[in-house]
């Protein structure tokens, strides 16, 4: 899922300075699951903003709303009109939601409440880690299911660099060296031949270096 993090309150307050009527708009998709932009967080952020503005002597009127998803047109439909009743809509969805509102709801001033971080998994309550880089050319069958593109600091293709010590990455001892893990996994599975083969230089176009990506499935097109 997409993992996001709320922007610092001060940044949001600065963003909405001068705004008198605001809609805080949550999303029940990924950001709700990672406890960043769901119903509960909408309530907390709205309260914090009200308090902050009251303290600054500039009270604000804030409504709260949470959509099922902000990345599907049918759910955004009501916002096209409702959004115009506000000076701004503070979206607590990932960047996709903010963009999609900006695309689909002309006349609505949409602002981001979150920093969209990465594609990750929930390790434990309150802890998420990046697992995929969305590079568009998956090689996980060659690496024991562990992704060096997303999880190696240098996105190496041909084994661990010289900074791998004790199974940890040189950039931070809290980071696992994913190549160390790949080596262990492939060796234990007797697939270590894969470790001896030279993986050729990558084509980075599918990972976004070839321009904005778009996917079309003819059979589903209206």
């Amino acid at each position: 899922m997409i993992i996001a993090e709320q922007k610092p309150l001060d940044e949001i307050l600065k963003m909405i300075s001068g705004i008198e009527k605001l809609l805080v708009l949550g999303c029940r998709g990924c950001v709700a699951v990672c406890s960043t932009g769901g119903d509960k967080e909408v309530g907390i952020l709205a309260s914090a903003l009200r308090l902050g503005r009251k303290k600054a002597g500039k009270p604000i009127e804030i409504d709260e709303e949470t959509y099922v998803r902000q990345c599907d047109p049918e759910y955004l439909e009501p916002l096209k009109e409702d959004g115009k009743n506000y000076d701004a809509v503070l979206s607590m969805a990932c960047g996709v939601g903010v963009n999609f509102i900006a695309d689909r709801c002309p006349g609505v001033n949409v602002l981001p409440a979150l920093n969209t971080s990465f594609y990750g998994a929930n390790l434990s309550s309150g802890e998420w880690a990046e697992m995929c880089a969305g590079c568009g050319a998956c090689i996980l069958h060659l690496t024991g299911g562990l992704c060096p593109v997303a999880r190696c600091a240098k996105s190496l293709s041909n084994g661990p660099c010289g900074g791998s010590v004790g199974g940890r990455c040189e950039i931070n001892k809290d980071v696992l060296c994913i190549w160390h893990q790949i080596c262990e996994k492939l060796t234990s599975r007797k697939q270590d031949q894969l470790l001896r083969e030279i993986v050729p230089i990558r084509d980075w176009r599918p990972s976004g270096h070839g321009g904005p990506r778009r996917r079309i499935r003819e059979d589903l097109l209206p």
Binding site: K154, G162, V165, I198, V199, I201, R202
Partner: protein, 999 residues
């Protein structure tokens, strides 16, 4: 042959190879690279030029490599994948190849996190293995990475790669080397080796894989410059295995630098013995000067001459050098030619003289001949006369004789003609031999002919000596003279260059040598004079400069110019001065500023500082209440050291005069004024509202309990009204606050609390004294946490000794608070009472589990106790009854109702305390008429809110914690708390201010 580089040649020749390393500067200074290259020149076979190592921006490896090359040092250009993508790298490689670079080391590169631009985007378009493959394809297949053809001039590069035998997983490392070899590496340079044994194991696997026959392996070595450097590498450089032996050797060494070199040499000798090691890669990091010594001590010098190192680009200086050399050469040639010409001229003159003498002899002969002719004429005359005389008689015979002699004379003149011809041909030969021009020859010829015509004479051959006859002698001597001359000229030039570079001693030497060869050489003489003058003036300058460096400035370290070093010290002195000013230390400031001005008389800051210090204009010093959090792992400064002595005295005096007033120490933004006291009585304020409408007089009184002994003893309790309800009754003693301290170093205190005590953590007595002396503590509560059987489980006897030393070491009341384990507390507290004798100390907590044993002890020694129950009115009352039944007086009991921090159940504590107090005061419940003790500090500081770091959402951590503690305390005060146990000095100050404002 791959690239034909010197490195390749030395490696393929089978000689043990040495490569060096040159780190380009963090600026655009050409000279730094050139100087480093000159140090290494001749001592290594090639030099690695690093590519922004450790991700710090430096001069590019290509550029620095070209500078090295222009000095005749063969570079191994390093290229990483961190900063450039395949387009950039291939482009640089083409450039490198065009300008004569022949070796390339392909690396992935250190992560940008380690450098000075951690914010940058790492490129990592490929990794080192893919990079090797790409360059190999460019070289061997003449194709760019995309597959396009390189139509001509493909880069011919000798490719290398790195390997780290000390990184994990160990078994994979040789396989990775194999991958690199397969991808195109011809040589491998390893990570720095200190653990030779592990490297040998690595090499064993390498040999098992047969790699040592496919690739040249150069073992990486680095001389450690100091113990500090070795420790740093061990600790912070990932994948570097610095053995303890190395650290010990450096530690024990008199001269660690020398020992560092020895260590490096030893390692070289050891790795050389390992089969498959083709050479060493000496990385003297910012210590290039060590390389020649290391190489020589390791027995690896001299290196084979680098014949193939031919720069395509040259520095302007080297061009100048070449031009000046060429000039000198040309000059010598010209001089030689001039000398020859001079010799020829001399020869011509000599020939001329000889010819002249020959001519004069000819002249003489001619004269003689003329004389003979005259004689003949006279004879002819005589004969004619005789003929005339004898015409008649024997006339015919006589006449025949005369004719014959005449014929003779005609024959003579034909000989003369022959002589003239041979003179002519001789002159022609002379002309050819001497290069005499036509006009000169013509002049000579005419001269001879004139002589002949004038004095036609004997036909003797004129011998003309040959030019060649003289030359051979000259030829033998001249080259020697020329060589001497050349050497003198070279020496003079060298001397002048050295003189220009301010190396007067070297110049002197050069000139003296020149004079030894050619004592009369004018230029050398002049140079010598100049060099002497320069030396003298340098000596004078040195003398003059020496006293200008004041004491306290250590000698300039390597790598810094003396100006930079001096500048640093000026800044340091000015800073010291300012600190002294700030502290009020005028003398110190004067001294520091003067030192700074001695170094740099123009420094404005120092001048301004000096003026300030002299005028005694010292800014009022605010009391820095907050000891700085020690940033480095040094002994944390105690708050005293931050306070100037003047202020300290003032503080001490103030304390004597008004011991009750604790100076309020506030964090910035939390400094608060004393609360305004309400001066108008409530009855007045109530106006016409009758008193019985707003008062509810109490009928009970809380007992008074005396804690401690002597002057500093405290009395708590005594209230006959609800807390601070002064309009309803009396509150004879203000609530008091005891500082909570521990008998051992706290494990989990947040820094914002711990920093106030970290210097005394190890010594509970000093800790208690610090609370009293620095923070004005009225009482101390010593928690015997070390005895907790679930924790450190220290023996009771030990804790008791600590308690004893605290009790005997301070004069304020002491409360001893056990670890909460009923059994252990009984043991410990009993032990204490055995040790302290008649000292009065309050003990707790007594619970229903140990009240009997501890109650008896307290009764025996007449000590106050803390009766502790879990948040319940009835339980509190019951324990008091039990203690009373045991024989204890209620005047000895303080009730601990169990309290929680704000947000952690304080409402329950508040409610229970309120109900206990109401029962005591309004319902005459005698068993509850005892004061409350609230051990709140420990509760507050373990909450999550006090531990989360500062952030924009929750604000400053310390301010947050202080407020948590002070608000918890004020809440409990309002519920009736009489004795608070708190920890943070600022929270205490804040709470005390509140109490003063309320009473």
């Amino acid at each position: 042959v791959i690239s034909g580089s010197n490195l390749e040649q030395v490696l393929t020749s089978g000689q043990f190879t040495v490569t060096g390393e040159l780190g380009p500067p963090q600026n655009g200074n050409f000279d730094i690279v050139r100087d480093k290259a000159r140090i290494l020149k001749g001592h290594v076979d090639a030099v690695n030029i690093t590519d922004c190592q450790t991700a710090i921006v430096r001069m590019s490896s290509l550029t620095a490599g070209l500078i090295a090359l222009s000095e005749g040092v063969e570079p191994v250009m390093q290229v990483t994948c961190r900063d450039r993508n395949r387009i950039g790298i291939q482009s640089d490689i083409l450039g490198a190849s065009a300008l004569g670079i022949k070796n390339l080391l392909c690396l992935t590169g250190d992560h940008q996190k380690f450098g000075n631009h951690p914010q940058s985007k790492g490129v990592f378009d490929m990794d080192s293995i893919q990079l090797l493959g790409m360059v190999k394809t460019m070289r061997d297949d003449k194709k760019f990475q995309c597959g396009d053809e390189i139509k001509s001039h493909e880069p011919r590069l000798f490719l290398g790669a790195a390997a780290n035998p000390f990184a994990d997983p160990f078994e994979y490392r040789p396989i990775r080397v194999a991958k690199k070899v397969e991808a195109g590496a011809s040589f491998i340079q390893t990570q720095i080796i200190y653990n030779v044994e592990k490297f040998a194991r690595f090499m064993e696997i390498v040999r098992d894989l047969g790699l040592h026959e496919k690739v040249y392996i150069l073992a990486g070595v680095t001389p450690p410059k100091s113990v500090g450097m070795a420790r740093y590498m061990k600790k912070f450089v990932p994948g570097l295995d610095v053995t303890d032996e190395v650290i010990e050797r450096l530690k024990g060494a008199k001269d660690p630098k020398e020992e560092g070199i020895n260590i490096c040499v030893d390692i070289i000798k050891q790795v050389r013995e390992i089969p498959g090691v083709a050479g060493v890669h000496v990385m003297a990091i910012e210590w290039e000067q060590a390389v020649p010594e290391i190489v020589s001590l390791a027995g690896l010098s001299p290196r084979p001459g680098a014949k193939t190192v031919e720069p395509r680009l040259r520095s302007s200086e080297s061009i100048e050098l070449i031009v000046s050399n060429a000039k000198e050469g040309a000059k010598a040639e010209i001089e030689k030619a001039l000398e020859q010409a001079q010799a020829s001229r001399d020869l011509v003159i000599k020939e001329k003289e000889e010819i002249t003498s020959a001519i004069s002899s000819l002249k003489r002969q001619t004269e003689e001949a003329t004389a003979i002719a005259d004689q003949k004429e006279t004879e002819i005359k005589r004969l004619t006369e005789e003929l005339a005389k004898t015409r008649a008689g024997r006339g015919h015979a006589q006449a025949a004789k005369g004719l014959a002699s005449n014929r003779e004379s005609i024959a003579l003149s034909s000989r003369e003609r022959r002589a003239l011809t041979s003179v002519r041909s001789g002159l022609e030969a002379l002309r050819k031999g001497l290069g005499i021009n036509e006009d000169q020859l013509e002049a000579l010829r005419r001269f001879f002919e004139a002589e002949f015509l004038l004095h036609s004479d004997t036909a003797e051959q004129v011998t003309i000596p040959f030019y060649e006859e003289a030359v051979p002698e000259e030829k033998l001597e001249k080259p020697e003279a020329a060589a001497r001359r050349k050497e003198v000229v070279n020496l003079v030039a060298k001397g002048n260059v050295l003189l220009h570079k301010n190396d007067a001693a070297g110049a002197l030497d050069a000139f003296e040598k020149a004079l030894a060869i050619e004592p009369g050489d004018q230029k050398a003489g002049e140079g010598l004079k100049k060099a002497r003058e320069a030396l003298e003036s340098a000596a004078l300058e040195e003398k003059a400069a020496a006293p200008a460096v004041p004491e306290g400035v250590p000698p300039c370290p390597e790598g810094l110019s003396s100006e930079e070093w001096q500048r640093k010290w000026v800044i340091r002195f000015v800073a010291t001065g300012n600190v002294c000013l700030y502290k009020g230390d005028v003398d110190g400031a004067l001294k520091a500023f003067k030192l700074a001005l001695e170094l740099e008389p123009e420094d404005e800051k120092a001048r301004a500082g000096l003026l300030k210090a002299e005028s005694g204009l010292i800014a009022p010093v605010p009391v820095p209440a907050e000891p700085e959090v020690p940033e480095k792992a040094e002994v944390p400064p105690t708050p005293e050291s931050k306070i100037s002595p003047v202020i300290k005295e003032v503080k001490a005096e103030a304390k004597k005069e008004a011991p009750v007033t604790t100076p309020i120490t506030g964090i910035e933004g939390l400094s608060f004024a004393e609360l305004p006291k309400e001066t108008t009585a409530l009855s007045e304020r109530a106006g016409s509202v009758p008193g019985n409408q707003f008062t509810e007089p109490c009928t009970g009184v809380i007992r008074e309990i005396r804690l401690g002994e002597g002057e500093k003893a405290l009395t708590v309790g005594g209230a006959s009204a609800l807390p601070f309800h002064m309009f309803e009754g009396d509150m004879p003693h203000a609530p008091h606050i005891a500082f909570g301290i521990l008998d051992s170093e706290p494990e989990d205190w947040p820094d914002v609390l711990g920093k106030y005590y970290s210097d005394v953590f190890s010594d509970p007595v000093a800790w208690a004294r610090k609370c009293i002396n620095d923070y004005g503590a009225e009482a101390i509560c010593l928690s015997l946490v070390s005895t907790d059987p679930n924790g450190m489980n220290q023996p009771s006897s030990q804790a008791a000794k600590v308690a004893q030393s605290v009790i005997e070491g301070v004069d304020v009341p002491v409360i001893l608070w056990g670890c909460g384990n009923a059994e252990k507390d009984t043991e410990t507290l009993r032990e204490v009472t055995n040790l302290i004798g008649s000292h009065k100390v309050c003990m707790g907590p007594l619970s229903d589990a140990n009240y009997r044993s501890l109650g008896a002890t307290a009764m025996a020694f007449q000590l106050p106790v803390v009766a502790s129950t879990p948040i319940d009115v009835n339980l509190a009352k019951q324990l008091n009854i039990l203690l009373e039944n045991l024989g204890l007086s209620l005047d000895q009991i303080l009730v601990d109702p169990s309290i929680g921090a704000v947000g952690y159940g304080i409402e329950y504590s508040y409610s229970v305390m309120e109900r206990i107090r109401l029962a005591a005061l309004t319902q005459q419940d005698e068993k509850l008429q005892v004061p409350f003790i609230c051990n709140l500090g420990r509760e507050v500081w373990k909450t999550k809110e006090c531990r989360l770091p500062s952030n924009s959402h929750l604000g400053d951590q310390e301010r947050r914690g202080v407020l948590m503690e002070a608000i918890t305390a004020s809440t409990l005060l309002l519920a009736g708390g009489e004795l608070m146990i708190m920890m943070h000095p600022k929270a205490v100050a804040l709470t005390e201010a509140l109490i003063r404002g309320m009473i």
